[in-house]
Symmetry: C2
Subunit: 345 residues, 2 copies
């Protein structure tokens, strides 16, 4: 087994993989409300981005925003929701508080058949929530109060669970809070020692700005097998406005690089080969929350079920198209049926 | 002022009305999940109906149902949400607990500009929730845990608030729990003494079966000016399978009777005249939760803004069509814009 750039590992592991994927992420309930540009401007919110807010700011924004719709979220958890819907065996690690929203999160993820056994905290810090303002252009602007999620202890990582999954999936957002960041590093080592693949999503431009050195080190040290980014993120990571230069700079350092490009579709670079998929058409884009998460779900489900890169990209595009056609970042339609109908698989 | 059947009251009141409507209802957060007929059958749930469940049964059903989407609900509260969106000045009375779902309910109703000042209880009984199972035919089957809502004390009724609104709106569901039932009777007297109109919705067949005598007495004693029912409810109220006979039996006892008939539209009977409206077409019926509530919203908004009965029925049809085209019982589209587009008003 080698940790060099883009190296193909043997996949030999001491235990047989019983799960397809285990994801570690923030355990968040989304609170989605319609908004307008004036509201974003008056609260100095950067459209399309995610900002971390403290309890007080969350209360302030919540008090002034419109009526909400609560639905379980969290980037990695959304990806697992999509993968579970596609028949993958999934596990999730992330911390909620022992409160009503924590119960909602735990119910929803277990109802999808996802293994979830992280104990709820009861330290008085409530379950994380993300106040998502959706503007008429379907863009989402996120204000995350990390709550109990930011105190995910390294002890919550179950080495056996991580070793039991073919892929470890991590969200960049977890680099923001200190304890999960440490836990992530241990998790990566656990997975690699067990001969598993590590997939990582860069999450957000501002998140990259906060943790560029860490993300670069992970990539440079060959810790990431599959990297997901969008156009803005891959450019931000490489501190360039030149998309192709950004892609070229990163592609050689990871096994597979996937870059989503909104209405322009997505590309994948693997072993020097470039693959492209067009965006799947949708009658109406309602809310882009979860688009990247569900693209990753479709792609990884394809990857893990032995589909080609092109087919996996198509599955990503179909899953992403479903989630942007309604409010909320988790699929409402039967994704399996949708794949059968759209892709004949 | 007279309390005889269908009598027109003078409308003279001691105070100037400052609100268009005040509604009293269960303060509920809906938990909406996709389901299938097999799930309903295996839990002995009657499709399309509302059943009351205790905490234990609610936990049991919740534990087995799919991932949910939480959104503020409650029949009367949904009606007010629609009316507020149509520019009506509204007030709501209903009790939540001082917990996370209670905070969600209170936020959402206030975010709509609805006056809501009922203190949250803190007696350990949590905020009411309604587990709504939506089958692929868009029918909803509701399992309501009344929680804090069922302990709405008569002291929560603000006589000045009730006297200040042109219409008092009540849901039949409130007859189930004892304390709100008593509170309702006081509220009706308060409204009538202030020369206000009383509007009432029959809510549900099973609810009528439990309280037929009480509902009949209210109607027979001329306490109801505007009565909302659907086809099943008006038949159940009159214990007949003959729709026309049921309508005829009740129409003369209330100022205005409105009966909604799903895809067949709706009728209104007022002073012996019968008015009809066709159902507003929708591209896809997703979830019928809130259809009756929003029909009432559109009708009452028309009534209170001086529209004719026909126009008010049309407004009801447009509002109901919006709410059945997505999950959740409160409007997502801009109802004012929708009315302008569909009805030129």
């Amino acid at each position: 087994m080698s940790d060099e750039y883009g190296s193909k590992r043997t996949g030999v592991s001491v235990t047989q993989a019983t799960l397809d994927i285990v994801g570690i992420g923030n355990a968040i309930v989304d609170v989605i409300a319609q908004s307008d540009d004036a509201f974003l401007a008056s609260h100095a919110l950067s459209k399309g981005a995610m900002q971390l807010v403290d309890a007080e700011t969350a209360e302030l924004i919540y008090g002034e925003m419109g009526p909400g719709l609560e639905v379980s979220g969290g980037s990695a958890a959304n990806t697992l929701a999509g993968m579970a819907a596609l028949g993958m065996k999934c596990g999730f690690i992330g911390q909620v508080c022992d409160d009503q929203l924590g119960a909602v999160f735990a119910h929803d993820i277990r109802a999808l058949g996802i293994h979830y056994a992280t104990p709820a905290s009861n330290g008085g810090v409530p379950t994380a929530r993300c106040l998502i303002l959706v503007t008429p252009d379907a863009q989402r602007t996120m204000n995350t109060f990390l709550g109990a999620s930011q105190f995910l202890p390294a002890s919550a990582l179950d080495p056996q669970l991580i070793a039991s999954a073919r892929v470890l999936y991590l969200e960049g957002y977890l680099w923001d809070p200190e304890e999960p960041r440490k836990a992530m590093r241990s998790a990566i080592d656990m997975a690699r020692n067990a001969g598993r693949e590590v997939a990582f999503t860069l999450s957000d431009n501002f998140c990259i700005a906060r943790h560029r050195d860490d993300f670069m080190a992970l990539i440079d040290n060959g810790k990431i097998d599959i990297l997901f980014a969008n156009e803005g993120e891959i450019k931000s990571l490489n501190e360039t406005d030149n998309f192709e230069a950004a892609v070229a700079a990163t592609a050689g350092k990871v096994g597979t690089l996937i870059v989503t490009r909104s209405e322009k579709g997505a590309i994948a670079i693997q072993k020097g080969m470039r693959y492209e998929v067009a965006a799947e058409p949708v009658p109406q884009v309602v809310d882009t929350t979860g688009a990247g998460d569900l693209f990753a779900a479709g792609f990884l489900a394809g990857h893990l079920s032995g589909q080609t890169v092109e087919e996996s990209l198509s599955m990503g595009a179909v899953a992403a198209a479903e989630v942007i056609s309604h409010y909320g970042a988790r699929p409402e339609a039967d994704l399996k049926q949708l794949m059968a109908k759209r892709l004949g698989k």
